[in-house]
């Protein structure tokens, strides 16, 4: 009889958005050691960005994070605006807020699809992907592409909204709010989910703070930290909202935390659409072939659906970034949090636990 054996999950793991594997050591079906194995998605974004001009990078950056590409465009633009000392028009701020929140809704729906599938509830997966497509259709109309919008760019946004945009977005918000009840019934208030998730892979407040955890994973332990409130960007200073927190810190709380944030996002979109002023959507940026940015450094950050996402940006006064370092949210969530959290858990729970941490491998590989 084998006492201890090794198992490699991945790299084509269904529960994670991207190629990534976890090397497990098991005793029976209990995990005694877990080691992450990254690198399958390494595309050298940081190096590539150093070789492209400021406008050219627009086509590259959204690809760092597949489920939620808009945050990349936002932090990139915010870093450049900070270095250039540019204030963007009010309307552009509101449009950015709507786009970012809608992207969060999309990412969370995608995430719920994955989580539910880990528990065998494939209906939620199909629902979530179909509902996400409704927002993608609006993105398609707004920016001309479904996933890689390249819509937020330095100085504001690339085009004004199309006629009927407000109605489309409000229609989506209303539809999603109704749908949320059905999601609750089917999944979040389903005793099956409760039994599987409650008390599983609990993170304490202290561990989370120690390990650099952010986002819903941290908020589910009771720490109210959110970039939207702490360092408001885009139109968040104009919006009225409160950050939800839970205190359990287990898999269940993390998922419910995300479910609450989804609702918050819908509320924020609704508010932003209603408060959106008229006016310009873009502050003129220099000719792209001669676009140089003053020497200096900046760190721009936003709250993504997974936590604090940021770019550390160094400019040497030329037409290309000198160094861009991507603060991927998932880096501390995987190393060392997930590696420690998996120890002692059952093999059948491992994909679900990884999924509840919402790890996005491209953010680790960069």
């Amino acid at each position: 009889m084998i006492k201890e054996y090794e198992l490699n999950i991945g790299p084509n793991h269904p529960g994670i958005h991207g190629n990534f594997s976890v090397h497990l050591k098991l005793e029976g079906d209990t995990i005694v050691e877990a080691k992450g194995n990254s690198g399958y998605l390494h595309r050298a974004f940081e190096k590539l960005m150093e070789q492209r001009t400021y406008l050219q990078n627009l086509a590259l950056i959204p690809r760092i994070c597949v489920p939620e590409p808009d945050i990349n465009e936002a932090v990139y633009s915010m870093a450049i605006e900070e270095l250039m000392g540019v204030e963007i028009p009010e309307r552009a701020k509101f449009i950015r807020t709507i786009v970012l929140e809608a992207a969060r809704v999309n990412a969370l729906l995608f995430h719920f699809g994955g989580t539910a599938a880990m528990l065998g509830n494939y209906t939620v997966n199909y629902w979530a992907v179909a509902d996400r497509d409704l927002m993608l259709d609006i993105f398609l109309k707004l920016s001309g592409a479904r996933v890689y919008h390249m819509y937020i760019w330095p100085g504001g946004v690339r085009r004004d909204t199309y006629p009927g945009f407000e109605d489309d977005v409000l229609g989506f918000v209303k539809y999603m709010k109704d749908r949320l009840i059905e999601y609750d019934n089917l999944f979040f208030k389903n005793p099956m989910f409760m039994h599987r998730a409650k008390g599983l892979a609990k993170i304490t407040k202290e561990t989370a703070l120690q390990m650099g955890v952010t986002g819903p994973n941290l908020k589910a332990t009771g720490v109210k930290v959110d970039v939207r409130k702490d360092e408001p960007y885009a139109a968040y200073p104009y919006l009225d909202f409160d950050i939800p927190v839970l205190d359990d810190g287990d898999a269940w709380a993390r998922e419910i935390q995300r479910r609450l944030e989804l609702e918050l996002s819908l509320n924020l979109i609704e508010q932003a659409v209603k408060k959106m002023p008229k006016g310009d959507v873009w502050k003129k940026m220099p000719n792209p072939f001669k676009w140089v940015i003053p020497e200096g450094e900046a760190y721009a950050r936003v709250e993504s659906s997974r936590g604090e996402y940021g770019f550390y940006f160094v400019s040497d006064g030329t037409d290309k970034p000198y160094r861009v370092s991507v603060r991927g949210v998932s880096m501390p969530h995987m190393y060392p949090l997930a590696e420690e959290l998996l120890v002692g858990q059952k093999l059948s729970d491992a994909p679900f636990i990884l999924e509840t941490l919402d790890i996005c491998p491209p953010e680790i590989d960069r």
Binding site: G39, A44, E46, Q51, T214, R327, Y335
Partner: protein, 157 residues
């Protein structure tokens, strides 16, 4: 906050904006600075990376530490020479620096003393060239040497 930092840290301290403080220190006091900052509520290591200043022949190590209580991000920087670059580990202060330190070894060739995985492959398996994020590594040259260009047979009208 800046006043409090100035009391405990020796170095160049610049308040760039209300929520950003830039601290430049000598490389031997890098970890002690971070230790002091951790005591001043800067409990989260947000990012730990390096920048290759090839003209000065130096690496700049950058640690971004954040204070949840005061909502301030401190950018702690230090310069080390490019020949045989070595630093002390900061995992004893911020445990999540572990993989960032492995990355420093892999991407810049900076050895981290006290980190058992330092200079081991993390993302790039079987990499034998210069550390890729160094400015003197030419990725286009590498690509043309290692991969064949796609030859397209163009159809004209």
């Amino acid at each position: 906050m800046v006043e409090e930092i100035k009391k405990v840290i020796k170095g160049e301290i610049l308040e760039k904006s209300p929520q950003r403080i830039i601290i430049k220190v000598k490389n031997d006091s890098f970890s002690s600075t971070l230790n002091a900052l951790k005591g001043l509520s800067f409990k989260r290591l947000t990012l730990f990376t390096a920048v290759d200043f090839v003209k000065d022949n130096q690496f700049e190590l950058v640690a971004l530490v954040y204070s949840n209580e005061n909502k301030i991000l401190a950018i702690v920087k230090t310069r080390i020479p490019k020949e045989n670059p070595e630093i002390e580990t900061i995992t004893n202060i911020y445990p999540n620096a572990f993989k960032y330190e492995v990355e420093l070894g892999e991407m810049f060739g900076i050895k981290v003393i006290g980190n058992p995985d330092s200079m081991k492959p993390f993302l790039l398996e079987g990499w034998e060239d210069l550390p890729p994020l160094r400015k003197d590594f030419d990725s286009i040259k590498y690509a043309t040497e290692h991969y064949e260009a796609r030859n397209v047979e163009v159809k004209y009208d």
